[in-house]
Symmetry: C2
Subunit: 506 residues, 2 copies
């Protein structure tokens, strides 16, 4: 279509409205463009400024907030197209996304080919799919609806639409935890250990999807994590390792878009999970990957059968992509460390690295075991010697020194800060802890404000098998606002069984 | 939670922004409520004014558009909660929708019970599910993912969350066309015939989901259709029949909410389709229903197998709900009538009712056949006599008189008005019409502006088997704006095979 000359242009102004990641443009009901194009509220429009294009959702202004000759851009639209001062935008009906047919086919249960997934991921990263379409895609891939071949094809497509890193010859290590276990923040410790031993471990982490903290959220309490690709490369070349947020380096950027709709839906599916994990690893140039898979009734992986299924899918897809992968299946019945929430977990990480005698023993043990398994995965290493090397790195202070050097290279270390409002939740009676409900415990931390408020969350030192006396604190809630503290406490009152206490025989 | 006294209230103002049906509220980033509750962009918030509650999506204003002590409401939020002047609103984190567990279970392929569907439909009509959650629900029910029992349970739930009509003893007739055949606008004619013969036929119709015109869109060109329940009852008691929009009478209002997300996704699924059709019939108090099911490669039902599957599902669910249903399977290979688009289809309806010698013969024949089948469905009527009665009603002018009386009772008859811009699309060569692509033909009408512009659409008199000469118009596009006319024409150039012309042997 080449009718530029006939087109009415609109002056571009900034609306100053935050609509999260979905770009929205605002036009007046009486504006020439709305009338001539037949645009109405929620129409998807193609906006062009010079030769840049952005697909956005239209909201229609019916008051005099906006003149009829201007278009106002939401913050997401503004930063996506970055208009010059006095920019003029023209508007079009967007072409239907090329992947519309593939999306429809998947919704109706058909198997898709790699070209279909590539089209879907291209449209995903170029914002050509609405949140409603993305929600349909995520739902259509849930459960058993992605087979092994499709999972591999989706992973390849996610890698292809982003940047990739190449570290040259030799092993490049990585680890990933299949989430769901509150406080299981081994990554910064493992990266410090592995890098201190001379290996490369360019770790990208995600923010929380449905949990109170992701590794990127926790690391961000201690050092900047929003590094770009060049900055990440600098850190890894200088220190051997890094812990940065994956979203900013455009390694598998489609993953971050999909997370936007997965987060409110509060579900991850196996196929999406495997594609999400492995696409980041392939794009980051890793070739030796250890997967930490906690299994427990309230962890993300709830049973041995679910773990077998996910391990099979991970192994199959990793093999197809040329990755060496090992899975460490661990006890996922209860939290790890004391804190749940970004800053409180960061404090645990630092106390392990610093060799604090009061450091959480379970977090230390898990970090050593996982680092050991990862070292054992490297060809030429003697199987079983990794664990000893890891212990030595921690005990000698090498790992701490390396962690501080990495933080320094990422922009500088900061001690975690803690929340203003705290309240203890007391045990209603004497008893022995028989079980801990990780999901509800995470929910308390989320209601308290984590991860949006980094200092929010909760602290508990109790583990299964411990005896608690009536009136002792079961856990302490931390929050930045009184309202959030109250929400979290209200919820604990409604759910008194987060700690399953069995009364002692009298 | 009873902390009303501690809550910060915000002054309610009207944003003057049309966000279609999804309520949006705007707060300033620095407002006390955002800070104390930890609200961010896209947070779902519960807004309370006096004792009314509305769940809405938050957009955060980061400029000085809005003071920090006010909340601005989008048009949908404003009309849903209808604040008094100087109203003060308080805000809460909404309880998770009660149906969240059921939604998650369905996404992961589990079968749901009637109580689950009831919870889902209650949350749907009370706006407690976001568009992303609704999209996940619609997707999770697509294809074969709803069984017969679930379809019945969903239908019952859709009926239960809306109003219902009771017409007392005796037969109450109804018809429904499984869409997808452009121009197949028999409903107003059938209602006129059936009502003129003394039967009750309280017809509620939908607006277009993915087509260029729904029956409600077409009827609205000739008479008001947005009647409330009392007005509808008045029309039916006075005239025996009506043709009103179903959305305003709150018969199965959940259906209209689901359509909001189905429309941009551009798919209907069998289970949802059956629930959508039958919930409206049960709620309207109908007990004898004829289903018009056009079958053809580019109709909604594409094959005999698909028709069998849908018929089985309709029959099974209808039987469970105590409805007498017959299915009339018809030729769905090509459009019916001349016009496609609300006003152009209304013109065809009127010419059949008026006995115009140039009236489209196929529309007249279908209307007679369907009205005849519907009359035959009534116990006590002699099977096979319905057709003759229908013909007589049309030929005598009784049906026309009844139609005008119905329009009058609904608020007054208006002659259809036609569009300002028209252009012929010419045959590229001589040939015989072998096939017509209904979907692409509908798309031309939609690009021309239908159904948002009622006068937009296209007119074609050609049918399969007709001979066209090079340069003769294949169809004429009607549009209200030049831009839309051009879009429609551009599309016809990109898709020259809408009419499959086989060249004559020379």
């Amino acid at each position: 279509m080449n009718r530029e000359a006939d087109r009415t242009g609109l002056r571009v102004i900034r609306a100053g409205i935050d609509t999260y990641q979905q770009p929205v443009v605002y036009m007046h009901r009486d504006c020439e463009v709305c009338r001539s194009e037949g645009f109405a509220a929620l129409t998807r429009v193609s906006m062009r400024i010079d030769h840049r294009e952005l697909i956005a959702t239209l909201n229609v202004v019916v008051s005099d907030l906006l003149p009829a000759d201007a278009v106002a851009l939401s913050e997401a639209a503004w930063s996506a197209i970055q208009p010059e001062p006095d920019a003029i935008a023209t508007f079009y009906h967007p072409e239907p996304p090329r992947s519309a047919g593939a999306l429809r086919a998947k919704v109706f249960g058909q198997r898709l080919e790699e070209a279909d997934y590539l089209a879907l991921m291209q449209d995903t990263v170029h914002n050509r799919l609405s949140d409603i379409e993305l929600a349909a895609f995520v739902t259509a891939c849930a459960g058993e609806r992605l087979d092994h071949g499709e999972t591999t094809a989706l992973t390849r497509a996610m890698v292809a639409v982003g940047d990739t890193l190449d570290w040259g010859e030799g092993p490049v290590l990585d680890k990933h935890c299949v989430g769901g276990l509150p406080g299981n923040r081994t990554t910064p410790i493992i990266v410090a250990i592995v890098a201190s031993l001379g290996y490369r471990i360019p770790k990208t982490s995600s923010r929380a999807i449905t949990s109170p903290a992701g590794t990127a959220d926790t690391m961000e309490v201690m050092a900047p994590v929003e590094l770009d690709l060049d900055a990440m490369r600098y850190v890894v070349e200088r220190e051997g390792g890094c812990v940065v947020w994956g979203g900013n380096v455009r390694l598998s950027p489609a993953d971050d878009v999909l997370i936007r709709v997965e987060r409110p839906l509060d579900f991850d599916s196996d196929g999406q999970l495997v594609a999400s994990i492995l696409s980041k690893k392939v794009a980051a140039g890793s070739n030796h990957v250890l997967i930490d898979m906690p299994v427990g009734p309230t962890a993300k992986v709830r049973s041995a059968a679910a773990a077998d299924s996910l391990t099979g899918r991970l192994a199959g897809t990793a093999a197809a992509l040329g990755l060496r992968v090992a899975v460490n299946r661990s006890d996922g019945r209860q939290p790890v460390g004391y804190g749940i929430g970004p800053a409180l977990e960061a404090a645990d990480v630092l106390s392990v690295l610093r060799g604090d005698p009061d450091a959480p023993a379970d977090l230390r043990e898990r970090s050593i075991a996982l680092a050991g398994d990862l070292l054992d995965l490297v060809p030429g290493n003697v199987i079983g010697r990794g664990r000893g090397l890891a212990e030595q790195s921690l005990a000698s202070g090498q790992a701490l020194a390396k962690f501080m050097a990495i933080c320094d290279a990422q922009g500088g270390f900061t001690e975690p800060k803690f929340a203003r409002h705290r309240a203890d939740v007391l045990a209603p009676r004497n008893g022995t802890v028989m079980a801990i409900d990780n999901r509800r415990l995470s929910k308390v931390a989320k209601l308290a404000g984590a991860p949006v408020s980094p200092a929010a969350g909760l602290v508990s030192r109790w583990r299964i098998g411990d005896r608690i006396s009536a009136g002792e604190p079961m856990f302490t809630v931390h929050a930045q606002s009184k309202g959030q503290l109250e929400y979290a406490l209200d919820y604990t009152q409604a759910c008194p069984t987060i700690f399953d206490l069995r009364e002692d025989p009298t």
